[in-house]
């Protein structure tokens, strides 16, 4: 499904990694590990096509993602460090806008149902500026509940700012998604974030040059 071929990433004058190749079948969870500054986020941004690698290419079902563009983006969800949550919009509005941008047809009912499942039942109609960091993160992550059909999730530090209950819920959500036969790529500092047999780990620390 997702294939990385000889990826090299140079930021400034520092080579973060080079000759990085891997291939992921469906139903696999890839955990990208590494110390701070080892290039985890850069790798994820390369995988989703926001950043072009200095060398090499990323292939999705055999074709280069730079030629697939919207075809590829239609099938993935990328949640980065920033929550993409607007202060002035309510939680529901934020979620609906995010879904529409991603090309999903989501009505208000589905959006509030997803927020309720993420424990934001009483915050749906509140503007996001009165929500706490963790709650804003939940608004952003609630998109995953509505993205069960997408075959590739790319998540950058999904557990950050979440409380224990929400982390547990995220872990089940990811485990269920992998069990459905989808691919999930995530970065986290936890050793074994999700109990699944198909965990692949890439450690970028050893690749620092």
């Amino acid at each position: 499904m997702l294939e990385a071929v000889n990826l090299e990433c140079v930021r400034g004058d520092r080579t973060l990694f080079s000759d990085l190749s891997f291939s992921l079948e469906s139903g696999v969870l890839l955990r990208v590990a590494g110390t701070n500054g080892s290039g985890k986020t850069s790798l994820l941004r390369i995988l989703c096509g926001l950043l072009s690698p200095t060398q090499g290419e990323v292939r999705w079902r055999g074709s280069d993602i730079r030629s697939l563009r919207e075809e590829y983006w239609k099938e993935i969800i990328y949640l980065g460090h920033s929550n993409a949550v607007k202060d002035e919009l309510t939680a529901t509005e934020n979620l609906m806008v995010a879904c529409t941008l991603a090309g999903m047809d989501v009505d208000r009912e589905q959006a509030s149902a997803a927020l309720r499942r993420f424990g934001l039942a009483h915050c749906e109609a509140l503007p996001a500026k009165v929500l706490s960091q963790g709650q804003r993160r939940r608004v952003s992550l609630a998109r995953l509940i509505l993205s069960e059909k997408l075959p590739l999730w790319i998540l950058d530090e999904p557990f950050i700012a979440l409380d224990t209950a929400a982390v547990d819920y995220m872990q089940t959500l990811i485990a269920q998604h992998v069990a459905r036969g989808a691919t999930v790529v995530l970065t986290t500092h936890q050793e074994a974030p999700i109990a699944t047999a198909t965990l692949v780990t890439i450690d970028l620390t050893s690749r620092l040059t």
């Binding site: 096509g49 926001l50 993409a84 607007k86 002035e88 919009l89 609906m96 941008l101």
Partner: protein, 222 residues
Amino acid sequence: MLTALRCVIVRDLLLAMRRRADVLTALLFFVIVVSLFPLGLGNEPNLLRTIAPGVIWVAALLASMLSLNRMFSEDHADGTLEQMLLSATPLGVTVVAKVIAHWLVSGLPLVLIAPVLALQFDLSQQLLWVLTLSLLIGTPVLSLIGAIGAALTLGLRGGGVLLSLLVLPLYVPVLIIGAGTVDVVAAGLGAQAHFLVLSAFLVIAAVFAPWAVAAALRISAE
């Protein structure tokens, strides 16, 4: 695709409505700058009539510049821009939506209030209409060209000043033709040629600007 277009426009209008101060700043700036001229120059009707189109057009340029650097910077800061770049909708469509929303919030109010302000300059009723029409065709061009500058200076320190240096020279042709439209009518000639040139600017900008903005936004994400 149209759903996404509508969604982005509605979202930006909603944001502008909940953050009214930003919108009103540009509008009040326009009103005050235009009103300062009759106050400063005295009440010589012929002088005022001569400078009216130039003053109003220059004030419109500056007022529409005020809100330009906010066009993409907030989306850039909170990560929404990343999601737009990875959207299933072509980026050009999203850009068009952002530009339309920007014009509705910062261009259209100027067009609507311009005839009222022009009364201070003792313009005849016919000239009021010509001025309003020239602003109606001209201000979307300003938003389109400005979007290129806003995308190119995204994430830069001191981007605001650079943005003005980048965009104002490109505004010059629009200013010359726009203000010229009123002048030729005042001189008793037909304004058709001027309106056609102004419309040509709009068509060219509408076709090429979204494409240039999309390319600049992709570079800024790297």
